[in-house]
């Protein structure tokens, strides 16, 4: 660890001590100015009345928060966002475990299959939402066409914008499609680090595949499942792009991020936007901690 400093001391000592500071200076400047300062500003301004069309800014106590709780569109979007988060975490974690189990073994073309499986993760969410929106289309969508051809529905249906929970679930499926590859990769990495000796021991003991999964695999990949679940939780709590494209401004399927955007940049109530941002940031942190505690600390059940 000291080698760099010592050899560097051929030069004036001050230079050697300054060097690491020079190297991290741009990084620290960026993070301080464009991450720390904005976070502090959000926290402070949440308690101020901030409106660019109606200056000056003045202290508002809990006024912004009170207005938010009285706003039915915001209240509805809290409930919707909880729905997005529950569907998102459960579905992408389940798909993550299932996908990782399927992709764990080596087989021919495994590299290509992995590359194709992570493809939805790499593409813009807006793009994906536009594509799925077309698939859900009430008049010509392929979802209608396939369900109708399979005689599962009698006629073509409208899927988005009529029923609240159907809309939330169908939009969240689009986000799950994008998030699940990340969960698969995280859990796959954990699976591959498990020694095959453990499986052989379980097999010799006569354990069924399901039992060896429950008793051997699951406890060992629990930390990875926690990481994947928290990733999905944070992403689905932040859901915006898919809702913007597929739900628009309608309160029916609105998410908290969309409400924050509308309050701030359409109603130009910056104070309200700050207050909502602060509440959602805190909620995200608390929920992440809860998910980690639930999955990570729970005693191993066999």
């Amino acid at each position: 660890m000291t080698a760099v400093v010592k050899v560097g001391s051929r030069r004036p000592a001050r230079r050697g001590r300054l060097l690491p500071w020079l190297l991290i200076a741009p990084l620290v400047a960026f993070i301080a100015a464009l991450s720390f300062y904005p976070t502090v500003a959000t926290t402070v301004q949440a308690f101020f009345r901030v409106s660019p069309l109606d200056p000056p800014t003045r202290f508002n106590g809990l006024g912004n928060f009170r207005a938010l709780f009285a706003n039915s569109a915001v209240t509805a979007s809290w409930v919707n966002t909880l729905g997005y988060a529950v569907v998102g975490v459960v579905a992408s974690t389940a798909l993550g475990v299932a996908g990782a189990v399927v992709l764990r073994r080596r087989f021919r073309f495994r590299g290509i299959v992995l590359a194709l499986v992570i493809l939805p993760w790499a593409l813009p969410a807006v793009d994906e939402a536009v594509i799925w929106n077309w698939m859900y289309d009430p008049n010509y969508g392929v979802v209608n066409s396939l369900l109708h051809s399979a005689h599962l529905i009698g006629g073509y249906h409208v899927y988005l914008g009529l029923d609240r929970w159907l809309t939330v679930v169908l939009i969240e499926i689009v986000q799950v499609w994008q998030m699940a590859p990340l969960s698969i990769l995280i859990i796959l990495a954990a699976l591959q680090s498990i020694s095959s000796d453990l499986y052989e021991a379980a097999e010799v003991d006569g354990a069924s595949a399901w039992r060896s999964f429950r008793a051997v695999t699951l406890p060992l990949i629990r930390p990875a499942i926690a990481v994947a679940a928290v990733q999905s939780l944070v992403l689905s709590f932040n859901v915006f792009d898919q809702v913007y494209v597929m739900n628009g401004n309608a309160p029916l399927g609105s998410s908290l991020m969309l409400q924050t955007y509308l309050i701030t940049f359409q109603n130009l109530d910056f104070g309200g936007g700050y207050a909502l941002s602060l509440m959602v940031t805190l909620a995200t942190v608390l929920l992440s901690a809860a998910v980690i505690a639930l999955i990570y600390r729970r005693p191993v059940a066999t």
């Binding site: 990084l27 620290v28 464009l34 790499a122 813009p124 680090s193 097999e203 944070v234 941002s277």
Partner: protein
């Protein structure tokens, strides 16, 4: 922790442990059931992952009347490339549209490319200092930088808009690049820190003994050795930049800086662009990150998993 992506011929058999005969099915019967089950699950995963993309391609390659048929044609019939000709301005009917779409693609390349270059340069310097040097408050600063990974967009969106607005940078490439960079730096620094830490010090020490400066050591020894890690960080940063929507939606207001995601969302919202042309836009927008992701998936897999799991 990395995911191995090597695929060897016949490895499906090599990895198999001897089956213990038990149950009603014979050994070959059970193996058959297992191979069948595994094949089915692979097909399901691939269809789930690829069908929406295939569907966009299918729609983009046909005529509007064919796309609006009931039941839907599962393959393009007739095949029609007019949507793509229109998109790239080959057929003149909507050349304004082609110009708009082309410009937004260029904006996205400049913004995500610019953010990638800036992020990697800053993160390489910072991560090298964190991995190799000792200084006061190193641990505190490092953890503070990484902690911003946990910050949701909520925490910074409005102030970032106001900062850029007060600097007169709204609707410029610079605003978008600066905001992307601040968002991508923690992940890039973390990935590069891990990579630098995994490189043995002996190479650098030898160079220092030979009298090379830190800059020369960094550029001629550390960076070449760390190239796979730097590539992973660069590719992930580029993909993240290309996919951005909310921040550019707020920070840009016209074609001088709006990236393609903002334009695609606007075209979708206007409901005047036919679905066939819209899907062609979607396919082209997805092609850039799609090709990057498939061609360079090894880097992405190693980067994503080391970033998430370590």
């Amino acid at each position: 922790m990395t995911v191995s992506v090597t695929s060897q011929p016949s490895s499906a058999l090599a990895g198999r442990r001897p089956d213990l005969p038990r149950g009603r099915l014979s050994r070959t019967g059970r193996r058959g059931v297992r191979v069948f089950g595994r094949t089915i699950s692979l097909v399901v995963i691939l269809v789930w992952s690829l069908f929406p993309l295939y569907w966009a391609l299918n729609t983009s390659l046909t005529t509007l009347s064919s796309a609006e048929s009931r039941p839907a044609h599962l393959v393009p019939s007739p095949v029609n490339i007019a949507n793509y000709q229109q998109l790239f301005g080959v057929s003149g009917s909507q050349s304004g549209f082609a110009n708009q779409f082309g410009r937004s693609l260029l904006n996205a390349v400049i913004e995500s490319g610019g953010a990638m270059v800036l992020t990697i340069v800053i993160a390489v310097l910072g991560a090298y200092a964190f991995a190799r040097m000792q200084f006061l408050f190193k641990r505190t600063i490092f953890i503070s930088v990484l902690a911003t990974l946990m910050l949701p967009a909520y925490a910074t969106l409005i102030p970032l808009y106001r900062i850029m607005s007060s600097l007169g940078l709204v609707n410029t490439y610079l605003a978008v690049i600066l905001v992307y960079t601040s968002g991508f730096l923690p992940l890039a620094t973390w990935l590069l820190y891990n990579y630098f830490s995994s490189i043995p010090r002996s190479l650098e020490e030898a160079a220092f003994v030979d009298g090379a400066s830190w800059l020369r050591t960094l550029t001629s020894i550390v960076i070449p050795v760390a190239l796979p890690g730097i590539a992973a960080a660069a590719i992930i940063t580029f993909l993240l930049g290309w996919a951005q929507f909310l921040f550019p939606l707020v920070l840009t207001s016209d074609l001088s800086s709006q990236p393609v995601t903002v334009i695609v969302a606007a075209l979708n919202g206007q409901r005047i662009v036919p679905f066939t042309l819209l899907m062609a836009c979607g396919v082209v927008t997805a092609a850039v990150p799609g090709i990057v992701a498939i061609a360079l998936n090894r880097f992405i897999i190693s980067g994503v998993t080391s970033g998430a799991v370590k």
